[in-house]
Symmetry: C2
């Protein structure tokens, strides 16, 4: 009943932080140095290609709770998704489309949920730029869900108003 993380990329550390104690995590990466650092931090790691069938069988993909596929290489992600889907037709697979135009392809490969960080970021930035009403609520909700220490500077999203350059009561705009 573990969460299987296939490959390592820019999103992996935020994902590991968010998962925290909520799930046992098994990570598959072919990068030996990376694997060692993750093992040293206490993670279960399989040092192998995330689209290798035997490797995925060793991770017990048949008994996993879900699979996360979110490297910076969408082609490798597609191959890892196809492999996981083939070995477990019922597993919940979530993926990140680094190139927004790959969303559909990763879904077609077998991912149930595909997120585009660029589209998400663009959404929040545009909302903030025009003072959209939805932003603050979503922002607060995200912050509420954050398990991290608020004194750390790694919150999902933060509003610097009140620090340098508080926009004040919109005088000139």
């Amino acid at each position: 009943n573990h969460v299987l993380v296939l490959g390592y990329g820019e999103l992996t550390e935020p994902i590991l932080e968010e998962l925290g104690d909520r799930a046992r995590v098994v990570i598959v990466t072919p990068d030996e140095a990376r694997a060692k650092r993750l093992t040293d931090r206490g993670y279960d790691v399989v040092t192998d290609d995330p689209s290798d069938e035997e490797a995925l069988q060793r991770t017990r993909v048949d008994a996993a709770r879900s699979v996360v596929v979110a490297t910076n290489n969408d082609a490798e992600d597609a191959l890892a998704i196809l492999t996981a889907r083939q070995l477990n037709p019922d597993i919940h697979i979530v993926a990140s489309a680094t190139q927004r135009e790959n969303e559909r392809k990763l879904r077609r490969a077998g991912a149930n949920t595909v997120i585009s960080p660029a589209a998400l970021g663009g959404h929040f930035l545009a909302e903030s730029a025009v003072g959209g009403s939805g932003l603050e609520t979503i922002e607060e909700r995200l912050l509420d869900e954050q398990p991290t220490d608020p004194t750390e500077d790694e919150t999902v999203q933060t509003n610097g108003a009140g620090e340098a350059g508080d926009p004040g009561p919109d005088g000139q705009n």
Copy 2:
């Protein structure tokens, strides 16, 4: 009362789509080919360095509604933020930290809101992986706010359940 977009990167197209008709947009980019393509699409473009003071004065940063700084190069973003903040101490500046660890620096440079697409994406993926209750609501809200045609495949976030590999009633997990 325009939105000033400083530089062009991975997030720019999602931002332009989201802004749509909600604001007049002026884009500053030194890339002449990019500037031409944007001009051909009807955008106001200033072909110059986004951290050039004279260029920013020509964009009327003093009268803008807000400034969006979201290229893939956080160092250039920092310089553009510093320039805009210097020319307009009251303007609302939103920025994207491509490297999550630069969030604090971009705020210190003068951005009011800084978003990390990697942290945002990681948050949603982790929520989806453990079946967090908040996801569907936020997801629906994002989709509701999307001005795009639902037949296009460019929604912020989509759940492929019901397509290939519907996880079903969690039999094996």
